[in-house]
């Protein structure tokens, strides 16, 4: 038995070294930058500077939250209807939902410009009908649409995977006990699919809140979400690495706290794994 434990240690050793070097050390270096000034002297000035970026944080959280809610509202019925289909159709649909994820998300996002632009497909069509062009691009709405579009598969898939494993007999039992459709949904389906919802929410919220591409392309560079701010500062030069690291640390802590809180809602304690 001792031999086995030694073997396990040997097998996991390369990974432990790897994780320490490429996961922990980078974060320590980032923390070091966040807590020092350009001369490398310890300071809390960067943290107090962060107050200036509260609007960027606020906007990012707001947009990401709206996008996450819309994604959930769109994805939940989708997942539900999918489970109602024949197994072979389900498999096909799953493939269809996953396929866009294999394509470059920059291109998929960029294609929306062709659809939404003033001279784009929708406005050309409206023009043919004699309706004036509608400003669709370069608005907060376009940014949120981009987030919903890019990340909706990450909401559909986990909800579907939980829903497809639902015990049908529980639903039948609730019907036998006289539950109407609403009660059945609220008391049975919703609680049972909660793990899927929660992992879906985290998988949509995290990339949305930290994006720096979608807001630039679909928002016409008119806003600065927190991801844009970090990218902008890093591209100004080494002088800004300290403040940019501080913002990144705060973003990371914010995300980890969100995930921790979300996990509290999740009874299914599978070693803390969210997926």
């Amino acid at each position: 038995m001792k031999n086995k434990s030694l073997g396990s240690k040997l097998l996991s050793a390369p990974y432990i070294v790897w994780a320490a070097l490429f996961i922990i050390v980078p974060l320590i270096i980032m923390l070091y930058f966040a807590l020092t000034n350009e001369a490398g002297v310890f300071t809390l000035a960067n943290l107090s500077e962060i107050g200036k970026y509260k609007k960027a944080f606020g906007l990012s959280i707001l947009y990401a939250a709206i996008a996450t809610v819309i994604t959930l509202l769109l994805a939940y019925p989708m997942a539900y209807f999918m489970t109602k289909l024949k197994i072979s159709s389900q498999r096909m649909l799953l493939l269809i939902v996953m396929l866009p994820m294999w394509m470059n998300f920059l291109i998929r996002t960029y294609s929306w410009i062709s659809i939404l632009a003033n001279t784009g497909i929708i406005n050309t069509f409206l023009g043919k009908l004699g309706l004036g062009p509608v400003q669709l691009m370069y608005t907060p709405g376009a940014v949120i649409l981009g987030m919903v579009y890019d990340f909706i598969p990450y909401m559909i898939l986990p909800i579907y995977s939980v829903m497809s494993k639902l015990d049908k007999s529980l639903l039948e039992a609730s019907e036998d006990l006289g539950a109407n459709a609403f009660v059945k949904f609220k008391k049975v389906i919703l609680p049972l699919t909660r793990p899927g919802i929660i992992s879906g929410i985290t998988m949509v919220f995290v990339p949305s809140v930290s994006t720096f591409y979608i807001s630039q392309k679909l928002g016409g560079n008119k806003t600065m979400l927190i991801g844009d701010a970090i990218e902008y500062l890093f591209n100004l030069g080494v002088d800004y690495y300290n403040i940019a690291s501080a913002i990144s640390m705060v973003l990371m802590i914010m995300i980890l706290v969100c995930l921790f809180v979300m996990n509290r809602f999740n009874d299914d304690d599978d070693g803390g794994v969210v997926i």
Binding site: W102, T109, T202
Partner: protein, 269 residues
């Protein structure tokens, strides 16, 4: 009700594919615009052959995706087996938590922290240039590893630990026991991990953006292109990739449907 449900599913699929459709249509555009359609042409496809920057980037992308997927699969599978065997609950939990950081964290934070590390090390050992092929490879392996570990671990849990002991009792060496008994039992998990790693690496933009230096991958080139005007050749290349993946997935699905009845696992971006 049923018709309504079908309509809903159709609408969502339309939403998912509208931009893809636009991309495919405009890849055949006669003019250089990706907004205004002016007649059919395949010149962007033939033109791809001479676009050395894009083809080089594609080559880089494939090299990084294959290498990082292979290395992270080997390293990750070993780690998963090792972690399962660890007896100290605390260290196990700690290791699992650390493993989840790159999965949970924002890509931009992972990318920047790795960039800071690479530049720091580069300065330390006096490199004139610290970012490039090796750093982007290391970065990709780093964010791939957790996904491999997470897809192998559940399979290991399902595997009866007595199997290994039985193999040892029957005279197998531990190495033989691993390859003859354990590996076959967890092979679907390993394969899922490999595919996930490959996909994530292929599509990664944010982490590569901060760590690749001159070794530009396709998403980086595409990002640079969208900074000026995207021409239909980018769409043509994406269409080719789309069709290739589509065919691949159809085959995979048909083959898998014969044996496996379980729905596919979700992949996080």
């Amino acid at each position: 009700m049923k018709a309504l449900a079908r309509l809903y599913v159709a609408l969502i699929i339309f939403f998912l594919y509208a931009p893809v459709l636009v991309m495919i249509v405009f890849s055949f555009n006669e003019s250089a615009s990706v907004w205004v359609f002016q007649g059919v042409s395949t010149k962007w496809y033939t033109g791809l052959v001479t676009n050395t920057a894009m083809l080089n980037a594609l080559k880089h992308t494939i090299i990084i995706a294959v290498l990082s997927a292979v290395i992270s699969t080997v390293l990750g599978t070993a780690a998963a087996v090792g972690i399962t065997g660890l007896r100290n609950k605390l260290s196990k939990k700690l290791l699992m938590s650390v493993t989840q950081i790159p999965m949970m964290n924002a890509d931009i934070v992972t990318g920047i922290s790795l960039m800071l590390l690479f530049i720091f090390i580069g300065k330390l050992i006096g490199l004139n240039e610290s970012l490039g092929f090796f750093t982007v490879l290391l970065a990709h392996i780093t964010f791939n590893l957790p996904y491999v570990i997470m897809s192998v671990l559940p399979k290991l849990r399902q595997t009866d630990s007595k199997l290994r002991e039985a193999a040892l009792d029957l005279g197998c060496s531990p190495v033989q026991a691993f390859f003859k008994v354990i590996l076959p039992a967890i092979s679907t998990g390993v394969l899922t991990g490999f595919i996930m790693a490959f996909t994530l690496s292929l599509d990664d933009f944010v982490i590569s953006y901060f760590t690749c230096g001159h070794y530009q991958t396709l998403p980086i080139i595409i990002y640079n292109m969208t900074k000026k005007s995207v021409t239909p050749d980018t769409y043509a290349l994406s269409t080719i990739i789309f069709v290739a993946v589509f065919v691949l997935l159809i085959f995979y699905n048909v083959l898998q449907s014969k044996t496996d009845k379980k729905p596919a696992k979700p992949i996080r971006h």
